[in-house]
């Protein structure tokens, strides 16, 4: 299977109390379990079933994903920061892996 690649867009610095946008895009087949391969066998379900954003240890955004989410899932959401910190993204894979990535945001 292809490597799990992450692309993210997070501002390096934000003003205190300012609403800003966070975007992430990852590579994942998001096999829904309803498709058949060339060998005629059903391709088992393999999706990211949960996405979380944790800011300074506190979950600020979470989403349960189901089989209708497309290949290479993209998500964008807005946040507001009162103090500088690290935002951590967690993608929970059906195969048990949790893909983790984080970025520091400076509040000025």
């Amino acid at each position: 299977m292809a490597e799990f690649r992450i692309r993210k867009s997070v501002p390096e610095t934000v003003r205190k109390g300012e609403v800003f946008e966070i975007k992430t895009l990852v590579t994942h087949p998001m096999d829904n379990g309803f498709m058949f391969g060339r060998d005629g066998k059903r391709i088992p379900r393999h999706i990211i079933h949960r996405f979380e954003a944790i800011y300074n240890g506190k979950t600020v955004f979470g989403a349960d994903w189901h089989v209708a989410v497309s290949t290479n899932p993209y998500i964008s959401f807005h946040a507001l920061a009162e103090e500088s910190g690290t935002i951590e993204f967690r993608w929970h894979d059906d195969n048990g892996t949790v893909h983790v990535d984080s970025v520091y945001i400076q509040v000025i």
Partner: protein, 266 residues
Amino acid sequence: MSSTHFIGAFLAVEMLAAVVLTAHAQERQLTSGAFPLSGYHYMGTQIQELQDDEFLNPGRFAVDHGLELWLESDGSEGLSCHSCHGDASVSMSGVAARYPQFDENRRSLVNLEGRINEMRTEFMKAEPLELESEEMLALAAYLTFQSLGEVMDVDVSGEAARYLEEGREYYMQRRGQLDLACSQCHDERAGMMLRGDRISQGHVNGFPVYRLIWRSMGSRHRMFRWCNWAVRAEPRELGSDEYLSLELYLAWRGRGLNIESPAVRP
């Protein structure tokens, strides 16, 4: 049998013709085969936006991967592409726009993938990359990306002229159970609908492309195989002589178009 029925039917035909004509007026720009028009113009605005957005374009993942491979040493000589060619944004700028080309030493056509494997085996003493493997597509996408916006311009003079003619023949030849030639759709019916899809002129300036129905990258030759399969003809091998000639013909046919790779196609 009254004549009113006949007039009614006639009016209906007239009205239908009017509707068709209006639709045709809108499509005139797309259907005109007078100048080459990238497949970009034949897809919906949503997919165009997906291609144009640097963040969202899924093909950019392959480009990122390709850069890693460009820097990675492989083979017994301990060389990477970068060891000899340096910064690809300088050394490879415009290169992909001139492929495929006739190779004097090999006495045959060679495309970008063929050249990559030649470099790997001859200079790096590394294993050739499997055609259509993720690595080959990534490296090809990275190289072609260095020509983004460059004008596609292949050399068809001298020895290459023979291959151009072979490619043209393949393109014009009816084949498969549906008995269709490439030209019947992509020259004569470009801009018209084929079920839910709008038929493009069939240019190769976007390759390697991220194709949504494949959910992955694909080369020009994979697309040829797909097209052959679609008319229920027997697909040729990736990298085969027929496909190389066809690739040369299509690159020449779309000369003047800008390289769009990594393009997104439906």
